[in-house]
Structures are given as C-alpha cells and as structure tokens.
Symmetry: C2
Subunit: 107 residues, 2 copies
C-alpha cells in the first residue's frame, strides 16, 4: 500500500460535447483497466453540473502510473481532449492517510 | 448502486497547520464511518503539495449524505476548518459511470 498512488482528476466538457466526453472517458477506462498496475480507474459525472467529470484512479506504483501516460490510448484520449474538454484539468496525485474503519478509510 | 453518491472534496491547509488538518480529517473520518449509509470516507494527501488533502466519499443515498452534514462531528470539523483551511473547498457530488472491468471501473 505504501507505494500506491491515488489520482483524482476533475475536468469539464465543452458545451454540447458532454456525451462524447463521457464515451471517450469510458473507452479510456476500459483500455486502462488492461494496464499492469492499474487497480482502479473509475469515471464519475457531477450530478449538479453534467458537464463535469471526475476520475478516481488507483495505481500500484508511481512507475505504473508513469507508464500509463506513455500508452497509445492515452495519446488518443489527449488528442480528443483537445476537442472535448473546456478549461483547466485539476489533477492531484495523492497517497492514502488511513483512518478509522479500515474497510471504509481507504480505496 | 443507482442511488449511490460519490463525493470528492479537495482542500488546502493554512501554512504550518498541515498536520493539524491531517489529524482533524482522520478524526472526522473515524466518526463518519459510524454513520448509517457511509460506505467509504477516505482521506488522502497530495504527494506534490503536502498542504493539499483529498477526501473520497461513497454514500448509499443522497439522504444519508444530507444527514451527514447535520452530525455533531461535522459541526466540530467545520469550526476547526475555519482555523486550519486556506482558500476555497472544491466539493463535487457525483454518480458512477461504470465502464470496462467492473472490478476496476467503480469504487
């Protein structure tokens, strides 16, 4: 667990491109799940602002995450993001601070 | 799963108050794990910016999440946040968009 990296990314679709971005993220998730070291790559949509999406990722190691950014499906996603994504991407790489009930206090 | 709400919150500590905020979030997590409908309440710390923390929460229903905000430990946390937290809180309520491998595509 000590080497594990959790990533949270928040991004917004351009107006009218929301569903295309949702589809693109779903494809990206399916491809990413095949990568070594990917424990989780989960797509979410803001219930109050459907343009906004949140990715929650869990990687065995930082090396596995670094490798992820070199994958062909990431290049495709980055190119599509240029058309579909509006404004800045918030992306936070973090480590778990376990607390309380172990079954609820970490991913 | 359809009723489930996932919350991602990102907040930063005032300079020098990082460890107090980490402790406060750990206490909040432990108390929150006892609430009905709390499936997960996991504290994370940014590896590149140790002032920044990320909460990943998973609630059975929106009603359970609404109830969470009325709890005494939330009132205590909100009061402490006034001293310990710097700048705005980003908080996103979202729903899962399952994709790919079911064991990796959702919390």
């Amino acid at each position: 667990m000590a080497d594990e990296v959790v990533v949270v990314a928040v991004l917004s679709a351009r107006l009218g491109r929301e569903d295309e971005l949702a589809d693109s993220l779903a494809e990206l998730a399916a491809a990413t799940h095949q990568e070594p070291g990917c424990r989780r790559y989960a797509v979410h949509r803001d219930v109050d602002d459907p343009k906004r999406f949140v990715l929650i990722e869990q990687w065995e190691t930082r090396a596995a995450l670094d490798e992820h950014f070199t994958q062909p499906h990431m290049a495709v996603a980055a190119e599509r993001a240029g058309e579909l994504v509006d404004g800045p991407l918030l992306s936070v790489f973090c480590s778990s601070l376990p607390a309380g009930d172990p079954s609820k206090g970490a991913l």
